[in-house]
Amino acid sequence: MKWLAFLMVLFVTPAFAAGVDEAVLPDAAQEDAARDIMKDLRCLVCQNQSIEESDADMAADLRIVVRERVAAGDDHQDVMDYMVARYGDWILMRPPVNERTWLLWGMPVLLVLLGLLAAGLLMRRHLTERTADAPLSADEQAALDTLLAEDKDQ
């Protein structure tokens, strides 16, 4: 059990809550709104994280600005527009559908359609092959007739 305790100690990490080091907004509703916005903004340094999760300095800078703008009365869309104007769509965790991203968003649908098409084609081929089985030859037919007749007699 000693090694288990050792492992447990090893993997204990302090619980970092992003933003605890920063001044949160006094109004809880506004703070919630700001947090929601932060979740939708990509961190510039660690790109798979939102600025809400990131410990990077630049993410902290962005969080301060988000809180400022929310405190000044900006809504979700206003802050997003502000950020996109400076950083482009890149800053959004969920990029909008436009002429550059339709392939990205459409790919799952496209793949499902392709799959359905392939399945449909295979199924059709399967069915037509069944019905198009070659007819029995004269000998085969005679043998079958004999067997069926025997069956009936019993």
């Binding site: 510039l44 300095d57 630049m58 800078d61 301060i64 769509d89």
Partner: protein
């Protein structure tokens, strides 16, 4: 055996994906959008790094000369890497080299670094809270912008290096001079 056309479909799809992903490997994920391209520089007014010197405002970028604007910090290792290129650029008469210092642990250290290794910047603005850095859409330091005739025309993310200098920056300055 007769090869039916759809037998080679998986291979075609595989090759297509391989090409798609291989091209993706060559892209730089650190490169972000450049909304300032061909736009006027954003409004800003920064205080100086050294108290006795002037700061930097957007007005300074709108003079007759082409401006090289470099975002740096003394704690940033790649900034030191590109420092010799900026020193060389600062010796040219046809351009102005300005700097914006993004957040220092100690301003004295930054000043000492520039004093020791050389200061390529005719003017330096000090951006402690990253507001101006944000206006320019920076993803980190260093970054270098070129402003010509009141428009931002280039952005280099990351340190200046030989390929950038030889194949883009210097030929561009040459072309602008004409």
């Amino acid at each position: 055996m007769k090869i039916k056309p759809y037998y080679i479909l998986p291979i075609v799809v595989f090759i297509g994906m391989a090409i798609f992903l291989f091209v993706g490997l060559g892209l730089n994920p650190r490169e972000t959008a450049f909304p300032l391209y061909e736009q006027s520089p954003p409004d800003f007014a920064l205080g100086p790094l050294h108290e006795e010197q002037p700061g930097l405002t957007d007005e300074d970028l709108l003079g007759d000369k082409t401006v090289i604007l470099n975002f740096f910090a003394s704690w940033c290792a790649p900034c030191r890497e590109e420092h010799p290129y900026l020193m060389a650029l600062s010796e040219r008469d046809d351009i102005s080299v300005y700097g914006i210092d993004y957040r220092e642990v100690s301003r004295e250290k930054a000043i000492a670094w520039l004093y020791r290794d050389g200061n390529p910047f005719a003017l330096i603005g000090y951006d402690q809270d990253a507001r101006v850095v944000m206006e320019w859409g920076l993803a980190g330091v260093p970054e270098t912008f070129i402003v010509h005739n009141g428009k931002v025309i280039r952005r280099y993310q990351g340190p200046l290096n030989v390929p950038i200098m030889q194949h883009d920056l210097l030929p561009l300055l040459e072309a602008l001079e004409k």
